[in-house]
């Protein structure tokens, strides 16, 4: 398969981005220093090209019933137009096919955003489940997506969006979006633990809008800082913190499962109920490192109840120490050890997130 590019590819190269392959896409990993980019998002405003992500609109008279079958969270909880929900899309065994955001959009139904790396299998699965519902799925590959994140990001972005949209955008509640004219969609969501917007817009308008955002003082941020930001925010990354063989109950996603109403038979429900009845053996925790080095994905975690594994690890630019997301035997608390290339080093179990709105918040 040839490498895919977003509508902003040339813009990134002009900005001196270091480009890498990400799930078949040629994407910016950083524009010089991932640490500086991280700090910019925590303290001011940064923007990310997330056009590689897959946007799928769901329409049709069964749209609600379909999504209530397809995902573990319940779209009936979306109380008003534009409201967003985070959910896992599970297989029958209760494994996570992908995680996603779904927005209620009263004009046509729902908008679903899934990961780029899982696009093909997600679409195939969604089509398969759709065959028993009156729904139409439409991939919106013609849309670009730009996330602006950071304490000053909304104010700065509002200087360059259409004037008549400004008050609407400023009035958006967290986890609410709105479909606007000309194919634009703006939502107050993100993947950094900071306030901000995710903006979907026609691909041919993306480069000009990106440059306008830059002119408004929003710095470009690469995928490397996106990863440290989401990890500090305690947010999962698909394929690392969870996958098809890992239960959402072992991946910190219990809160995304809508058990009520009890008769909503979403895919994976029976398997999850059986797991719950039997007792969940492994749980997700945050780790703050107190040893030497940096925690990395795949490292063994030694607890009093047996071994676990680090699913995402990094150096936290905000905390100036290493942090990780780990999956460990249930019932562990306090201190654990991590096998850092043959040496057992101390780490402490904490409740995530590590950082929210620029401040350390873990306990």
């Amino acid at each position: 398969m040839s490498t895919q590019t977003t509508p902003l590819n040339a813009t990134h190269r002009e900005s001196g981005a270091k480009m890498v392959d990400f799930a078949g896409w040629d994407m910016p990993i950083h524009y010089g220093s991932q640490l500086k980019e991280h700090e910019t998002v925590r303290a001011d405003a940064g923007m990310f090209d997330v056009s590689h992500m897959t946007v799928i609109d769901v329409a049709g008279e069964d749209a609600t019933a379909y999504l209530q079958k397809l995902i573990a969270n319940d779209v009936a909880r979306l109380g008003f137009d534009g409201k967003a929900l985070y959910s896992g899309m599970l297989n029958e065994a209760g494994g996570v096919i992908d995680d996603l955001i779904v927005y209620r959009v009263d004009t046509w139904g729902y908008r679903v955003v899934v990961n780029a790396a899982t696009r093909d299998k997600d679409l195939a699965w969604m089509q398969q489940v759709a065959s028993s519902f009156k729904v139409e799925l439409q991939e919106r590959a013609e849309l670009a997506m730009i996330a602006v994140q950071g304490p000053n990001s909304i104010a700065k972005a509002c200087k360059v969006i259409h004037e008549e949209w400004e008050s609407t955008v400023k009035a958006l509640k967290p986890f609410q979006g709105i479909a606007l004219q000309g194919g634009w969609f703006i939502a107050r969501t993100g993947y950094t633990g900071e306030d901000g917007l995710e903006i979907m817009l026609p691909a041919d308008e993306a480069a000009l809008f990106w440059k306008a955002l830059a002119h408004a003082g929003i710095a470009p941020i690469g995928l490397a800082a996106r990863d440290t930001l989401r990890l500090e925010a305690g947010m999962n990354l698909y394929g690392h913190d969870m996958n098809e063989s890992i239960s959402p109950l072992s991946a910190g996603m219990g809160w995304t499962i809508a058990w009520e109403p009890a008769d909503r038979d979403f895919i994976g429900r029976k398997a999850l109920e059986a797991q719950k009845a039997a007792g969940v053996a492994q749980v997700q925790v945050g780790l703050v490192f107190e040893g030497k080095g940096v925690l990395r994905e795949g490292m063994r975690v030694v607890t009093e109840n047996g071994d676990g594994v680090i699913t995402s690890g990094t150096f936290s630019p905000t905390l100036k120490q290493s942090i990780a997301i780990a999956r460990i035997p249930a019932g562990s608390s306090g201190q654990v050890s991590v096998d850092v290339r043959g040496k057992l080093e101390p780490a402490r179990i904490v409740k995530m997130p590590f950082v929210r709105n620029g401040k350390a918040v873990f306990a």
Binding site: S33, Q34, L35, A224, K292, G293, R296, T314, F315, P317
Partner: protein
């Protein structure tokens, strides 16, 4: 574009070496190495007085994204380490051939440097 000063020697594992007037050899990692690593956040150095074999692990350098071992390109006793680097690992990105030296080795025989790569050889090898 990676830099490699002409007065230094280089090895395949991306360390540079400089022969000092007192016969000791200063060792660090190259500009190319720090570029590959990205922002460096952690450095571990050998103990002064330890005796290292050629190609033995001498330290660790970790960036936000990756961990990498630092090797002793020549055998000898460690006579000095750059303690300041441990507290300011970002120096590796800012000044890889200057303030970010890692450690100094006293080789049994300074002629061991003769067989190592020149700057041109090294730049050729990394395709710069």
């Amino acid at each position: 574009m990676s830099k490699a000063p002409a007065e230094l020697k280089y090895v395949e594992t991306h360390e540079w070496l400089r022969l000092e007037a007192d016969g000791s050899v200063t060792i660090g990692i190259t500009d190319h190495a720090q570029e590959l690593l990205g922002d460096v956040v952690y450095v571990e150095l050998p103990a002064v007085g330890s005796v290292l074999a050629k190609d033995a692990q001498a330290g660790v350098v970790e960036s936000v994204k990756a961990a990498s071992d630092v090797y002793a390109p020549i055998a000898g006793e460690v006579v000095a380490i750059n303690d300041e680097l441990v507290g300011a690992p970002e120096t590796v990105n800012a000044d890889p051939y200057g303030a970010a030296w890692f450690f100094r080795i006293k080789p049994a025989d300074a002629s061991v440097l003769d067989g190592l790569m020149s700057a041109d050889d090294y730049l050729g090898q990394i395709g710069a």
